[in-house]
Subunit: 370 residues, 2 copies
Amino acid sequence: MPALDDFCSIIPAGGVGSRLWPLSRADAPKFLHDLTGSGKTLLRATFDRLQPLAGPGRTIVVTGRAHRAAVEAQIPELDDASIVLEAEPRDSTVAIALAAAILRRREPDVIVGSFAADHVIDDERSFRRAVAEGVAAARSGRIATIGITPTEPAIGFGYIRTNGPAEIEGAPSAAIVREFVEKPSAERARRYVESGEYLWNAGMFIARADVLLEELAREEPELAAHIDELAEVWDEPAKRGPAVDRLWPQLKKIAIDYSVAEPAAERGTMVVVPGHFDWDDVGDFSAVAKLHNGGRRGRLAILGTAGTVLADSASGIVVSQSNRIVSVVGIKDVVVVDTPDALLVTTTANAQRVKKVVDAVRLSGNTDVL
Amino acid sequence: MPALDDFCSIIPAGGVGSRLWPLSRADAPKFLHDLTGSGKTLLRATFDRLQPLAGPGRTIVVTGRAHRAAVEAQIPELDDASIVLEAEPRDSTVAIALAAAILRRREPDVIVGSFAADHVIDDERSFRRAVAEGVAAARSGRIATIGITPTEPAIGFGYIRTNGPAEIEGAPSAAIVREFVEKPSAERARRYVESGEYLWNAGMFIARADVLLEELAREEPELAAHIDELAEVWDEPAKRGPAVDRLWPQLKKIAIDYSVAEPAAERGTMVVVPGHFDWDDVGDFSAVAKLHNGGRRGRLAILGTAGTVLADSASGIVVSQSNRIVSVVGIKDVVVVDTPDALLVTTTANAQRVKKVVDAVRLSGNTDVL
């Protein structure tokens, strides 16, 4: 499959991933880790996955100033025009819409696709097929997302409810999005999956840049205007700095789900292409363990080789980042994350609660380990 | 109660306590730790417990050369005559019988009592009463031990089976020892405790030094002769060194249980004084947790204050010896031992299996952390 001529990809690389603390933290966020054991960071794997679609020089990474060096080390291919540095985190609308606005100034008819820097996808061929359909749908003026065909009634993801085929040329499997729904209860998740009407929301958005920005302007006119002002001067170094200093503090923090996707779904212009590939947002250590143990219980995954890990009758995952001996004896589904300055011990069943400990660490004043 | 004029105490301070790894290790053995949170190491607490019985200057500590400085730091009261340094560990018979032989040379009618350096005793008054009875029994020519009245069918201790009252003046509660039995199965332990005939073997031995050494000479004549040769020159610095160099390598490694206690029991000269006090040999982290949590489950004990320990829905024990953040989320009866070069994660139910990990560490070649 050749690259799509009118397509640019956007990789918002933000978010600490606090449920993956103490591995993931402010100065080493989730996207800079190799959580799959592939030898690549999640960011690099995301970039590589998009290259065949967007072609060389047509991917923009949006990240915080603090991560510039790390991002460039991961992706030496990026030139200055391909990195958008955020003065302060301003949530996903700013990250994606600003990149879209910059790209539209450079190339008015561009179609943009936004893909998180820290998700894992297994079947790249299926992924590319789904994106190609999404791009076809975007060409028709819709905003497209890719929804993952659920393999289990997961409660850790949001869902997309479909509403019959969208009948778009070049996007035969695209369906109309009826609504986006938040992470459900277990019972509700079961019903969603049984109904066959729901897909997992993987947070992938594909649209013509102008369509995306119009949708945003309809819902958040002030934010859209600020973003347009920034984009107007972005490629002029002398003007960019003052504009950022003036406008950035005013930028509203809002997820793109609320500023664009849900309003578009309400107006019937949002479509979803089902993705039949393995996808995970690797939101917690339970997900990391699952990735490593191939879904098989009773195994102990070892991530990192800094120290020596010794186990007796243990399963789950050990992340070894300090050069110590880590020994685990007789615990099922354990999660041990051993870093030089912080240690986490929990179980996969409690992986979502790690965020509470991060809050406790913050309260304890030990913010240097966050 | 005044000190007992004819009594000297012996504290064998050896044994790494490998079920307490990585807290307890070759260069920081169990007896040098404060496992109770009392502010005293187990060794110091043992010494203090014996002072009212033996009186000042009448306690000998037997330890390895490597621990001399640490032992002297714990017990500045010890003079050179009160420390017996072992060239190499040679098990409990050598430790106790050599000290007894040295003391007999200095004071022919001395009664010696041997008490491990790393046990915990709660009711000191009851302990002293029991020792006083043991000393009275020893004066009559018996070898006495103190057996602990069981509070539960423990499987981690050996048991002493009694055989009716010994009828010794000054030792009204002393009973004849019928036999010593090894650590039992749970079912057997239950029957022992129900029968009322059994006491826990706390490894405390009290005897006239000459009686103890005669018993040893009967069972292990060569070892007894070597020990006597060493004792003969022990207080002559010029002769001690050459004698140690020549004889130490030949000293047989054998526990005093087999060389003295069991043979004496078979001949009917062993008696036991029941001790009605809380006693624990603190053999594993389950015991440490129990000491700290007062037997109450559902609590998380924290031993050491090196780092910051944060917990959410966790119980068990955290030992914090590195200056890291230790966070424990949602694990019951967990054991986390965090030291600068080694980490152990297990549960109290698996505490006895820690020894297996120590073996694995040895096999892995990381002997510097043992």
